[in-house]
Amino acid sequence: QQQVKQSPQSLIVQKGGISIINCAYENTAFDYFPWYQQFPGKGPALLIAIRPDVSEKKEGRFTISFNKSAKQFSLHIMDSQPGDSATYFCAASAGTALIFGKGTTLSVSS
């Protein structure tokens, strides 16, 4: 399967800090880039998504930055809260199924 590379594998952030997770892709046919949040024992749930015609999308405390020329995109979580502690997956699609990154386990310490 075409790869989406995600880093870091794990992240510890103080409450109120900024969490940043990065992803990179190779397939230029990808045209949809969502981020999913997963809590233990649950299926992933959509957090925010972007298409390559924009460079940034913000929803509340969550922002996606997209760099089409570098084939990279990132998730920024502002004012991180303990309730944000979860696993985050970036993904990409060319109109069919999602291809997921390996995931980042975020722990927000209070």
Binding site: Q1, K42, G43, P44, A45, L46, F89, T96, L98, G101
Partner: protein, 114 residues
């Protein structure tokens, strides 16, 4: 949105046996997929479930091992056949209403093969 009911939620099975996992959606959807997620790992696409025709499998997954049915737009099954301990994983059903739209996931089936 779409609400997915996946059954069973978990099972412990003997090696060599088969388990069929059901995925029921509360509305008609165009796209249904099956993923595997090993504990602490990412989601790997097994196949696209096609309504009324054979599923489309990803590299490394074959129909004899993972037969899939999709008789209508709201229901699909995945069978894990002739199981071995290496099949122990979480299996997830996912649906989308169209291309590049939100994907909804079931809560998954946690399978342990002993």
């Amino acid at each position: 949105s779409a609400v997915i009911s996946q059954k069973p939620s978990r099972d412990i099975c003997q090696r060599g046996t088969s388990l069929t996992i059901q995925c029921q959606v509360d509305s008609q959807v165009t796209m249904m997929f099956w993923y595997r997620q090993q504990p602490g790992q990412s989601l790997t696409l097994i196949a696209t479930a096609n309504q009324g025709s054979e599923a489309t499998y990803e590299s490394g997954f074959v129909i004899d091992k993972f037969p899939i049915s999709r008789p209508n737009l709201t229901f699909s099954t995945l069978t894990v056949s002739n199981m071995s301990p290496e099949d122990s994983s979480i299996y997830l059903c996912s649906v989308q209403q169209g291309q590049n739209t939100e994907a909804f996931f079931g809560q998954g089936t946690r399978l342990t093969v002993v």
